[in-house]
Each structure stands twice: as structure tokens, then as C-alpha cells.
Symmetry: C2
């Protein structure tokens, strides 16, 4: 580093290798130096950085973040990477924020139930596994056992921090296609914000999760419902045939009677 | 601020009002000053703060964060507050991180589908509303329209950043109680990680959402299923009576036949 200004024998302003302005302080490091002279790094005892308003705001927020939390967050990012979840460097900040908040909650004895925990576990298994590993790492570095609900929040952090969602595409594609078949067959439209549409959408996502992971059901307990539901509306059979045709073509899968029962139950709430 | 060390006429080290060590630089601000003397603020042109390793790491990660994103995040925190969602100051960091990431995705043309979007909208309506307001604020400050999926992610950020989850407690209590009645009636246990249990849990949460918000169903399309399902297992009627008794007592609510059909359908997958 070269001196920009020499204040006195012990203080010199420089431009750091990363381009940031700083003042270096240390015994004698400015002695006999002039602008442009190289500064002896070994003499530096403190580095002062120029800080803009934005940076100051940030650091103020991070006042209580401990190095342990930082370490845990870095290890979690690493664990995510090992699972093929590529995060930006910024995601570590989110993790730090999240962990220190979770620790605060444990400290205060408040509990934050995670209402989308089961869905997260089912729909993002890879991220959820990292979330569970995160609880271990936090226990190891910070000495605190966080509740399982936090594994879900951390998993969603990883989901939101991913560069793109290739894995989720198939699910979205699936849900969209099946909904189009339904609309087309029954000449209906979906009120996206209604409870019924949400339930159908949730159902279809879970169905997609099962199909994409090739875990069909074996149970036959709902067989008796099948005929009853099928006969309720003449369009039901057409709709199921079209959905099955789509699934065969795209996913090499066919709904069994069980699954058709579920789907028809959800449809009765939407189709009139 | 009082001078700690006077380097020369233009540079003085001080302790800032917030307790942080800094070097102030400005024309003549050190002239004739000694340690303990008050420094004339109006002469300060630059402030250099001492920075530890942790802070340096943080600021490095935030290299690309623009003031616009910061402003948007602050306004979103404010919008959350207006909705009674109290966040820690740290949550703004998470928001900044999240927004700048979302902007990056839009810029690169990658899309990150949110698989828990519909659940988030249903289960956390207040947070979701702020998420939608957030999209407006981002458009206003950063000039970019983020997709609806991001409203869901932001809502979950707000959920995870809340001091406690009082609103979610009732839902969790409800799900737990109903599951206990089921286990007790059928002498069964739940495999928490199985797809079937997850689906039942999701169902119960949605049921809770409806009950807690007093929005009963009106449709009677599944009436024909009711008798068939009830007769499949003699314990079904007992279980439904017990659940209804609990709901009457705790929530002044009673399941109609429709809702009982749904519940029984889910139960057939779990109870043998």
C-alpha cells in the first residue's frame, strides 16, 4: 500500500488493495514517509475505513451479531453448496440475520410456529436437509438448540436465496398444465385467491411431488368412492382421461383410482 | 466529540457518540487542539471508522447494495409495522438481501417459482399483504416489477423475522389437539415425515384457517359421500363427535358434513 497523505509519524491515509480509502495507524509507520511511499504493513496496529451512510446503517444493525453466528452461517452456506444449492455471498447475511433472531427468540422464551413446515419438508427436501444440518451447526457453534420450525425457515431462506429454481419448474409446469385441462374440460375459471383454488393447488403440488419422485401409493381404501364420484358429473371421466394422457406423455405416470378420488373431491368444490 | 489523539492540523482520533472509535479528517479541525478538546463538527469532511474482521466481511458482501434497495427495504419494514408486524432492525438486512437478490434474478431472466406461495397467502394473509405492498415499493424505488412469487418470499421473511408468532399459535394448538383425538380414537401413531401425515396436517391447518377466520363453507356437493365414508369404520363417528366437541368448546365451531368428508378421506390414508 502506498501513502496518500501522511498525517504524522503514526497515521497515514492510503487506498487499500480492494480500492477502499482507509487511515492506517501504528507506531512510526508514517516516519519519514511521503505521498506515494510504500507503507510497512507490519507496523499497522489499526485500520480505519471511510464509511458511507449506507454502510454505517448496516453495521449499526449488526451490532449484536457475534463471530459465532457468523461462523455458523458460513458453515451452513458451505453445507448448502455441498448439496448443490448455490447461493450468493449475500445469502450468508440473511442467514446471519435469521440465526441471530432465532437465538434471540430462544433466549426470550418466545416460540414462532412455522405454519408451512410440513410443506417445506415435503416440497423442498434438499433444502430442508440443510436446514436440519443448520440446527446442528448452530448448536455446535452457538451452544443453543433451535426448534425444528427454524429448520423450515432456514430451508426457505435457502430456497429464496437460490440463483434459480430449476427443481421447482417441473412442479409449476405440472400444476399449470393440469389446471388448464380442468378449466378447459369444465369450462370454468379459477378464482386464484379463493380457499378452494388454494386447496386444489396444494393438492396438485403434492401430487407432483409424488410423481416427480416416483413414489406411488399402494393403499386401496378409497376404491368405493371412485364410482360414486365419477358418476356425479359426466365430465369427470373426460377430465381424468385427459389428465392421465398428459401425465403419461410428460411424466410416464398414470393416476390410480385413489388419486383420482382425491382430485375429484377437490374439483367438486370448484366445478359447478 | 472530544479529541483522543491529534495527528496533525487535519486529522484527529475521537470516540463517537455511539462509542465507536473513529478518525475525523477535515481542514484545520486539529489546529491547536489537544486530547480532551472538543472538535468542531462543521469542519469534518470524512469519518473513518475502525473496523473489525466481522464488519469488513459484512460490508464486502454488501458491495452491490444500492441506496434505492435500502430505501425500499426501510419502507417495507415501515409498512409491516403499520400492519402490527413488529420486526427487529436486523430484519431490514434480510429484506435488503432478499430484494437485491430478486432484482438480480429479474436482470438475469431467471425465475424462482415459489412452491409455498398459495399456502403463504392463505395462512399468513397479513404478511402476504405487506409482501404485495413490497412489490409496489420495489417498483417505485428500483423501477423493477418483481413477480408475485417474491411477495410470498417477502411475506415469509416477515414471518420469520417476527418477534413471536401469537397469531399462529391457535393454528398449531388446533392441529395438535385434533391429531391427539385422532390418535386416541384409532389407537394409531403418526409417522411425521410421511406424505400422508403431511397431507393431513396441511388439511388441518387450512381447516384451522377457515375456522379461525369464521368462513364456513356453503356447498353441499359431497353430501352423498358422507354416509359411505362414515360406515367404512365404526370409529369414524366417534372420532368426528370428539373433534366436534373440542371445536365447539374451543372455537365455537362445528364441522359440517362436507368438512367431515374431507377429514375422513385424509384419515383413510393413515388409519388402518
Amino acid at each position: 500500500m502506498q501513502a496518500v497523505k501522511v498525517f504524522n509519524n503514526n497515521a497515514v491515509s492510503v487506498v487499500m488493495p480492494d480500492g477502499r480509502e482507509a487511515i492506517l495507524v501504528g507506531n512510526g509507520l508514517g516516519f519519514g514517509r511521503r505521498p506515494g511511499d510504500v507503507i510497512d504493513k507490519s507496523r499497522v496496529s489499526k485500520v480505519y475505513y471511510v464509511q458511507n451512510e449506507l454502510q454505517t446503517k448496516f453495521l449499526k444493525m449488526l451490532d449484536n451479531v457475534t463471530p459465532q453466528v457468523m461462523q455458523a452461517a458460513e458453515r451452513i452456506s458451505l453445507a448448502a453448496e455441498e448439496q448443490g444449492i448455490l447461493l450468493s455471498s449475500k445469502s450468508t447475511i440473511s442467514l446471519v440475520d435469521h440465526i441471530s433472531f432465532a437465538l434471540e427468540r430462544v433466549e426470550k422464551g418466545t416460540f414462532l410456529p412455522n405454519l408451512v413446515l410440513s410443506e417445506t419438508r415435503m416440497l423442498y427436501p434438499k433444502e430442508y436437509a440443510v436446514g436440519q444440518r443448520a440446527l446442528e451447526l448452530v448448536r455446535q457453534f452457538c451452544g443453543v438448540q433451535l426448534p425444528e420450525d427454524e429448520a423450515g425457515y432456514i430451508a426457505l431462506h435457502l430456497v429464496a436465496g437460490a440463483a434459480d429454481g430449476a427443481l421447482a419448474y417441473d412442479t409449476v409446469k405440472f400444476v399449470k398444465a393440469v389446471k388448464e385441462i380442468i378449466c378447459d374440460t369444465y369450462h370454468c375459471t379459477f378464482e386464484e385467491e379463493s380457499l378452494e383454488t388454494t386447496r386444489l393447488t396444494v393438492h396438485l403440488k403434492f401430487l407432483a411431488a409424488r410423481i416427480l419422485r416416483h413414489t406411488p401409493w399402494q393403499d386401496a381404501g378409497l376404491e368405493s368412492m371412485y364410482t360414486v364420484l365419477l358418476q356425479r358429473d359426466s365430465r369427470n371421466e373426460v377430465c381424468l382421461q385427459r389428465i392421465n394422457a398428459y401425465l403419461r406423455q410428460e411424466f410416464d405416470y398414470e393416476l390410480d383410482h385413489q388419486e383420482q378420488v382425491y382430485l375429484l373431491i377437490h374439483l367438486t368444490k370448484i366445478v359447478r
